[in-house]
């Protein structure tokens, strides 16, 4: 299973459409395979990011704020989107791996960046 996280430094990027860096993690069994792969995008573009998600055969996307059209598109493509997540991406990945991450959550690490 492949998880893509939109990131900005060590945190989840506040906006899907303004993201310029993504991290891709692969879940092998119950563990996340390391090292994670990061991709720098040419420019912030929600459409190009959606294409990348499709091209990489991503199963789950973890992101911050996302527009309805992109959320619907990804859901229609049967990709699970955990959106409006605030906090460090490492913590988000850990929570996602444990199937505890939910949309709209403010992670404990968000307060002490």
């Amino acid at each position: 299973m492949k998880i893509l996280v939109t990131i900005c430094k060590n945190h989840i990027a506040p906006r899907f459409d303004l993201t310029i860096e993504v991290l891709i993690a692969t879940r092998e069994g119950k563990k996340l395979g390391t090292p994670f792969r990061t991709i720098l995008l040419n420019r912030p573009s929600a459409e190009e990011l959606c294409s990348l998600i499709m091209k990489e055969h991503i199963d789950t996307v973890i992101c911050g704020g996302i527009e309805e059209k992109h959320l619907k598109y990804l859901s229609w493509k049967k990709i699970k989107v955990i959106h409006s997540v605030i906090g460090p991406y490492a913590e988000a990945l850990k929570e996602a791996n444990d199937n505890r991450l939910q949309s709209g959550v403010i992670l404990s690490g968000a307060v002490s960046r």
Binding site: R15, G64, G65, E67, S84, G87, I106, V111
Partner: protein
Amino acid sequence: MNPHNFFTLNNIAVSEILNGVPHGIAVVDTDLRLVEMNHSLESHVGCTTTAACGVFVDSILRSSLGHNNQVFHDVLESGVTVSFEGDIINKHHKKIPIQFTASPLKDHNQNTVGIHVLLEDISYLQSVDQKQCSKGCSAEIIGHSPKMQEIFDLMPVLAQTDASILITGETGTGKDMLAEEIHKRSKRSRYPFIKINCGALPESLLESELFGHVRGAFTGAVKDKPGMFRLAQDGTIFLTEIGDLPLPLQVKLLSVLDDKEFFPVGGSHKVKVDVRVIAATHRSLRELVSQGKFREDLFYRLNVLRLYLPSLKERDGDIRLLLDYFFRKINENLNKKIKGFSPKTIEILTSYTYPGNVRELRNIVEYGLNICQGRQITPENLPKYMFTPIPAMKKKAAREEKNFELPRKAHLPVADTPKQGGWTAIEKELILDALKSTRGNRSEAAKLLGWGRTTLWRKIIRHGLA
């Protein structure tokens, strides 16, 4: 951090005051972490102050302010209030246009202790702006000057009536476009809009064109022809250069306007038509009447509603607007990457008098964009005629076009009238200039123009210069 203890005013929690404001408000500390937000903002972002307190504000707002909130850092450093437009993504995944106003918060010692961010939802204002634009910038007619605003205000009124309209104004001011726009907004918009240039055809042909003919009316009339008036049935007929309409046809036109019926050329049966007439001219009809070249009764019949299109010189501030508009449009069409005009070019273009009005301005911008090889249009990329003083005769001709109703400012020294024919004429002139300066050496001329020798040869043939 307890947000309710961060700021108090006479023991009243500031949060209570903030909640009374109908816009979103966020209070952040010097690390740009959220301290407080009001109910309005909570409803936008979908979380409470208690949950979001201490979190970096960019994560909460999901705004378009860019990475690391550079704007907020600038406010902290400079201590100056900053206002700018952007957007946020709200809890319903909608992008909301926002006017942000970030002000520094200072303590008693004038030390900046945080920032107060006001978020005004401007989606309504933007929709109003778009509506106003559709009202104030009809199709391709644009302008912000008071005189153009008067036209835009009058247009809906004129569109709703069925009376004849006389549009006057100098050449190149957009009389044709205005007529078409009035037709589009009228109840006749579903029916044809037919334009006839009264100066383009000889009298006999024009009569046949306007009113049609029956078979055998004259040599070559092998079949019935309906004529433009009948083709425009229920629609609008636009008679441009009405001042050039021959006198015998003026009588016939008058009878059409009065009785709404006419005889086609050679016909014995009257034809009834329901057509709205819009006429336009750059000449002074009143002068033509006094010279006996235009019928007074027709003048008064057409002159029911008169619209005067101001020349560019009378349109304060519109030159810059039109320059930018045509620059964007043509730059996009030509798929060029030119950034804009250099300051010196802007100075020249805004001080130029444009005897050919908007048409000339458009041609100049098109010329500049085609010639420019750099990132900015410089004075060297402007047509040479702009820098040549206008001959006295041309000035006189320009004065003759002066509208008879509104007084105009004294004619400033202007350059030659624009070359008609758009880019083709300009290109021909360029080739000639290059050939002249290289004394007819085509290889040198091609180099000068930045074209291949074959390209130059092809263009020479096309323009008939061989």
